[in-house]
């Protein structure tokens, strides 16, 4: 008897639930992210928030916003001014300057493969969760674009194109910071770099030189480079663990890095491992751009390590300054690292 009552209730629920079917909800055109084969085969799926699905219109809008100086306080600076596509969306300068000529204190990070940052901690010190929130920061930073989101929203709202573009992307002409950053994040997720010489080698499409191959072996050798513990391997095409380490740059810290975010002294001097993709285009290196060349970087790990209380135990032979690579090893390691550069990506 009770089952009959349940059936009746379910039938009634089904009837009522159909009442609102005729309400139209705008749906933009779904964007199919092209996942490279090496990513598809080897690592987890990209992070795409359920409240910001990628759409063709959203990506297009995000791209337009990324390159538009309208986001800055005086309409002179766009995201792309510091994240230049020809430099894998990084800046060739040690520090970037904002609209008032003031410089920051961190090197501009390149932008690619961001959807595979599984912990979604962004910036050198991981201070911001999610790509959407990351995009909020530079607009309002006084030493970057030095604007306010109220002002940006007003300018976009009064623009002759943007309201209709937002309507296409999100089904509303009312523009706010939430939708602006959603669109930019959608565009940033399309910045995928996966076509370096080494990728082609892994796919069986080309051969490496003996120097590049030996460099890869040094990279993977715990007794020599031991780069793989933090920077991935042939099985992790991101070439970063997206985690935070003190890689022995300083004995004392002027920039606490992750420690300033967590408040934990054990995190002082820790910064995110950057991807080793596209190093040919992303000099200078390290969070403060202290190394002008890749040779400087390799020399640092070979004989330039500085001990400190938070240096990562993965750093080898710290009391000798590092792993003491030979000149030949250094040259081969550099050759391998450069084989991770993706000229197609910077040419797009």
């Amino acid at each position: 008897m009770r089952l009959w009552k349940l059936h009746i209730i379910l039938i009634l629920l089904a009837c009522f639930s159909c009442e609102n079917e005729s309400v139209d909800q705008y749906v933009a055109t779904p964007y199919q992210l092209e996942i490279p084969k090496l990513f598809q085969d080897n690592i987890l799926a990209p992070v795409i928030p359920v409240d910001n699905p990628m759409t063709v219109e959203g990506v297009e809008l995000g791209k337009k916003l990324f390159f538009d100086p309208i986001l800055s306080g005086d309409n002179t600076q766009s995201c792309a001014d510091c994240h230049a596509p020809e430099n894998a969306f990084s800046d060739t300068r040690k520090f970037s300057d904002g609209i008032n000529g003031e410089f920051g204190n961190r090197n501009t990070m390149p932008l690619f493969n961001l959807a595979w940052n599984y912990d979604e901690k962004f910036f050198w010190d991981g201070n911001t969760f999610s790509l959407e929130h990351q995009a909020l920061v530079p607009v309002a930073d006084p030493i970057e674009m030095n604007s306010t989101w109220l002002d940006v929203e007003l300018k976009l709202q009064q623009h002759n194109e943007y309201p209709s573009l937002f309507e296409d992307a999100f089904g509303t002409t009312k523009i706010d910071s939430n939708l602006v950053t959603k669109a930019i994040a959608q565009f940033e997720r399309t910045l995928i770099s996966a076509n370096s010489k080494f990728d082609e080698y892994l796919l069986g499409q080309t051969n490496l030189t003996s120097e590049e191959l030996n460099g890869f072996n040094i990279f993977m050798d715990e007794a020599r480079g031991d780069c793989f513990h933090c920077h991935g391997s042939d099985k992790n095409p991101l070439w970063t663990d997206n985690a935070f380490h003190n890689n022995g740059l300083d004995q004392t810290f002027t920039d606490l890095g992750l420690g300033a975010v967590t408040g934990d002294p054990a995190d002082n001097g820790k910064f995110k491992s950057p991807s080793l993709r596209n190093l040919a285009f992303t000099a200078p290196y390290m969070h403060d751009g202290r190394f002008a060349t890749l040779d400087d970087v390799i020399n640092h790990y070979s004989e330039g390590l500085k001990n400190s209380s938070t240096i990562d135990p993965l750093m080898k032979k710290v009391n000798q300054g590092g792993v003491q690579l030979t000149t030949e090893d250094k040259a081969h390691l550099k050759a391998f690292l450069l084989s991770l550069s993706d000229t197609e990506f910077v040419g797009e």
């Binding site: 089904a14 599984y118 715990e222 007794a223 991935g232 391997s233 992790n236 990562d312 009391n319």
Partner: protein
């Protein structure tokens, strides 16, 4: 018309779905493994990391900065010799306080089992697989050492004979010799941890302890001044780790 079809389908589904409800005779239980960690009886969590506060059997003071390890092949054995392997594996990440419990996606039949075990690391067959989550966690072992995956990454610092802090990387992998295109493997270094007999009547949690101090103690008293880094290509060190690992885990309780 569409509404009517929809309502009819819903009705059919509800009628049919109820017809089998009373027929579930075989009882099944969900199995969970919960991992805790201690140093000779003193509970250890990531809050204890990054401080020189432990002393190993050799008398060396040390800190823990990173500890994560892989367990796999949770297996239940019956008296008739049959066994049931639970699906999945688990990367216990003490550093980030993640995956300290592992619940198998597949339930197990209730009943009496003569033994329950899990594997520390991967056996050689599983180690040859390709796992997206483990690759994403940068858990791989270089191909020159046979490839596959780490069993454990245990990093920290110790006070060396010069009274200075020095890093150590106690990384357990499949022992390999002759690194290169054709490495050789002197012996297996994964191992099974037996939890003993159990009768499963309901959803069950096995509370498993790792005594971290045992990695340095039994049967090999570990001298970090001699064996501290670059241990992955050191097959002899891997075998010592294996031998010490056999007494690291114990079953604390079942509930």
């Amino acid at each position: 018309m569409k509404k009517l079809v929809f309502v009819f389908l819903i009705s059919c589904l509800t009628f049919l779905s109820c017809s089998e409800d009373q027929d579930d005779k075989i009882s099944q239980a969900t199995i969970t493994l919960s991992f805790s960690h201690h140093w000779d009886g003193n509970l250890v969590s990531n809050a204890d990391f990054n401080t020189i506060k432990f002393t190993n059997a050799f008398g060396t003071q040390l800190s823990i900065e990173r500890l994560r390890y892989l367990i796999s092949k949770v297996t239940f054995y019956k008296t008739d010799g049959s066994k049931t392997e639970l699906q999945g594996y688990n990367l216990v990440d003490v550093t980030n306080n993640q995956n300290l419990t592992f619940t198998s996606p597949t339930p197990i039949e209730t009943g009496t089992y003569t033994n329950v075990s899990f594997t520390f690391g991967f056996n050689n067959e599983d180690n040859a697989g390709n796992y997206q989550d483990l690759n994403s966690a940068s858990w791989n072992v270089p191909a020159a050492l046979g490839g596959g995956y780490h069993y454990m990454q245990f990093d920290g610092k110790f006070i060396n004979t010069s009274n200075q802090e020095q890093g150590f990387n106690y990384h357990a992998i499949r022992a390999a010799e002759n690194p290169g295109d054709n490495p050789t493997f002197p012996q297996d270094t994964f191992f099974a941890v037996d939890l003993g007999a159990v009768t499963i009547t309901n959803n069950t949690t096995f509370n498993i302890e790792m005594n971290i101090a045992e990695w340095f103690k039994n049967p090999n008293t570990w001298n970090l001044n001699e064996l501290n880094q670059m241990l992955m290509p050191n097959a002899d060190a891997q075998i010592l780790m294996y031998e010490n690992g056999l007494s690291v885990f114990s079953l604390k309780s079942i509930n």
